[in-house]
Amino acid sequence: MSQDPHSTIDEASGTSTTGHEWDGIKELNTPLPLWWLYTFYACIAFSVLYWIAYPAWPLIGGYTHGLLGWNSRTAVVGDLKNLQTLRGPMNAKIAKASLKTIENTPELLAFARAEGAAAFAQNCAPCHGAGAQGSYGYPNLNANRWIWGGTLDEIHTTIEHGARWTADPDTHMMMMPAFGHDGILKPEQISEVADYVRTLSGNKPSPGADLAKGAKLFADNCSACHGPNGKGNIQIGAPNLTTKVWLYGPTKADIMHRVEVGGGGTMPAWHGRLDEPTIKALTVFVHSLGGGQ
């Protein structure tokens, strides 16, 4: 360090000053140890080496790649591979065992539930919710009411092939007709049938509702799919209308709208996106949420 020409000796302390002065106040020179300075230089040298060795500088059409060729993408791929190897032995067991066996073997169940929970959070939670609680139009998977069936095999089929997912030939295809849009029922008929449907799950009909008319309309138009008592049919994905759990809401307006437009939710087929052990783990996880049959 060169000597500062403005440096003076402070009379009170006998210590030299740095030569900096503000409004007559001078800064005492309390020197840092030299190794401190060298450590600082070493850090600068390190950062320069780091720029050269690792991806660092953004350029107009890209970035400097660094001499070591390190890249976060390949690091993630490597990590995933490691994870696969790590899970390999257990996944092999899962792949071999039947769904029932997995659920009855504590060791396999614990693994499948953990792996299923992780896969669920990543793939299913956007629609079915983080707790599988569902929402308007997306089934609640904790409840014991299933559109396409709640046994282990039925859940497995639904995950594998999806619902109304036209890219998969084995997907669940049936759909409710749009009774209103397609002119099958008149608006007042839709109102009457909605009144009747609400009573199926124990709700009180709106005052002045003609339930006999509604029941007749239901028998003529809906019972083919939903069954004469409205118990539904999981073979064709016709929901059970007698429960307290409603996919599209329990109010009269909700039901009228559904009769008007028909249709139903779509779920992608996960076969091909997820490997078989993961689909099995997901099946067991969903089944063990509490609603499984």
């Binding site: 020179n29 140890p33 014991n144």
Partner: protein, 489 residues
């Protein structure tokens, strides 16, 4: 002012020596060897502390089958910490929090009673530096010899001595790093693996890092660690008071300092002469390069070596010892005012620290002694908080984690009060005779159980009710409970 003048502080001397540069080269300190009470205490503590550190991993402690028999073991792979009869699981890390709080309070108490005794006697930096200096003294000679030789050009013989010194330092540093990794695995096995190059890479890397830090900190940085890197001197300054026993130059007795002959003349003629003969021994032996006669300072670690040096001189000149001693600011002022010494050991802060240490220690001991080797933790599903089923009944789901701390497989029954077995189901379990869920858990394992509690629709009249989970070990009939809530709205 001369750079070697012991009366000048080190830092002022440095400024003068290197032309007011903003950065100062560290002045080399050559502490003189010394004999006396405090030196003996320091040697004893050095042997005890380093002995514990280097050899503790080899101590065995029988915990029974399937359990490690190393007395102190940090088993990161299985997430267990073993300390003799105590076994700590990851969810019990609060014991470490308690230990850290205790350590801080004990440090505060030590400081309130006798200043920085931690720094002077027990701090690892002090202990290892002391050991390294002893090696240096053994190989390169004492203060005078080293100052003299370092001023001369290097000869082959002295180069060889220096090389030997660094070699011994590195060996100590290497063994320091080696002992460190032994706390994380079975020591005899790891030693064998290390010797045959079959140990995991992390072991070699850890040894390398600790070898380097020990060699650098104890061999080269020494007192600079205390002055520039350690936060304790700064904190300590705010925690001390005038009643704390600090290594103190009793200037009331020592001043005015004169030479031995002048003092005799002065005393004979009825004049005033202090006991300090300005021999500079206190500064010569100081490992921090401090002159204690300038008063307490950030760089004094209060190791008491200056006391030993001064006592030796006082003995020789026939004056009473302890011109430098553990003393308080209060007493110096009292003696100057003609009053007697008082030592107030019982003060608000010492009593407070002692009480706090006792309370926290008692809490930790009680919790350790009454600790169940069966544990249960319950977590209510947050999403959804409650659920309406097809028939309108209400269901809550819980994650019940059962911990089997024992060394045997046991079977456990879960009871949920005030509900009946009909309300409760658990995923993937068997049932006990009276219908409650039953699970078997292996030794030293935890098991996560998804428990569903269902009440009929009529239950929704009460928004929330208390619920108690009871885990019963069928073999030992030990019971662990956890409480939670059942929500219906």
């Amino acid at each position: 002012m001369n750079a070697r003048d012991i009366r000048g502080t080190r830092r002022v001397a440095t400024v003068a020596a290197v032309d007011n540069s903003l950065y100062a080269a560290a002045p080399k300190i050559y502490p003189q060897s010394v004999h006396g009470t405090f030196r003996r205490i320091k040697w004893a503590l050095l042997v005890v502390t380093l002995g514990i550190y280097y050899f503790l991993p080899f101590l065995r402690f029988d915990r029974g089958p399937n359990e490690p028999d190393q007395a102190v073991l940090v088993d990161l792979a299985h997430r267990r910490f073993y300390f003799f009869f105590i076994e700590i699981w990851p969810q019990e890390v609060y014991y470490f929090t308690g230990l850290l709080i205790l350590a801080a309070l004990i440090l505060f108490l030590m400081n309130a009673v006798a200043g920085r005794v931690w720094c002077g006697y027990l701090c690892p930096q002090t202990v290892w530096t002391d050991l390294f200096r002893a090696v240096e003294r053994l190989i390169e000679g004492d203060r005078r010899e080293r100052i003299h030789n370092d001023a001369l050009p290097l000869t082959a013989e002295r180069l060889a001595r220096k090389a030997l010194k660094h070699f011994v330092w590195l060996m100590i540093a290497w063994w320091t790093g080696g002992a460190w990794v032994l706390y994380f695995a079975d020591a005899p096995t790891l030693v064998r693996e290390l010797a045959t190059f079959q140990a995991p890479a992390i072991a070699y890397i850890s040894i390398g890092i600790l070898t380097f830090t020990t060699y650098a900190l104890a061999g080269h940085m020494r007192e600079q660690v205390c002055i520039y890197m350690c936060p304790w001197p700064r904190i300590q300054a705010a925690l001390t008071d005038e009643n704390a026993l600090n290594v103190t130059y009793r200037y009331d007795r020592g001043e005015p300092r004169t030479s031995l002959k002048k003092a005799e003349v002065l005393r004979a003629t009825g004049g005033r002469a202090g006991d300090c003969v300005d021999c500079g021994q206190c500064a010569a032996v100081c490992p921090m390069g401090v002159d204690i006669r300038r008063g307490a300072g950030l760089d004094c670690i209060q190791c008491g070596l200056c006391i030993d040096a001064c006592d030796t001189v006082m003995n020789k000149i026939g004056r009473p010892p302890r011109l430098i001693a553990y003393d308080t600011d209060v007493n110096i002022k009292r003696r100057l005012a003609g009053l007697g010494n008082v030592y107030r050991l019982l003060r608000t802060r010492t009593v407070l620290y002692t009480v706090l240490i006792a309370v926290i220690g008692a809490i930790m001991l009680t919790s350790l002694a009454t600790r169940n080797n069966l544990g249960v933790a319950v977590m209510h599903d947050r999403n959804p908080l409650y659920l309406q089923l097809a028939d309108g009944s209400i269901r809550n789901a819980y994650m019940v984690r059962i911990l089997n701390h024992t060394t045997a497989t046991s079977s456990y029954v879960l009871k949920v009060k005030p509900f009946t077995p009909a309300n409760v189901t658990a995923i993937g379990t068997g049932k006990s005779k009276d219908g409650w869920p039953k699970v078997e858990i292996g030794p030293d394992q935890t098991y996560e159980l998804r428990v569903l509690v269902t009440l009929p629709a009529s239950a929704s009249s009460v928004a929330s009710r208390d619920i108690t989970f009871q885990i019963i070990n069928k073999t030992s009939s030990q019971i662990a409970t956890a409480r939670d809530h059942f929500l219906t709205r």
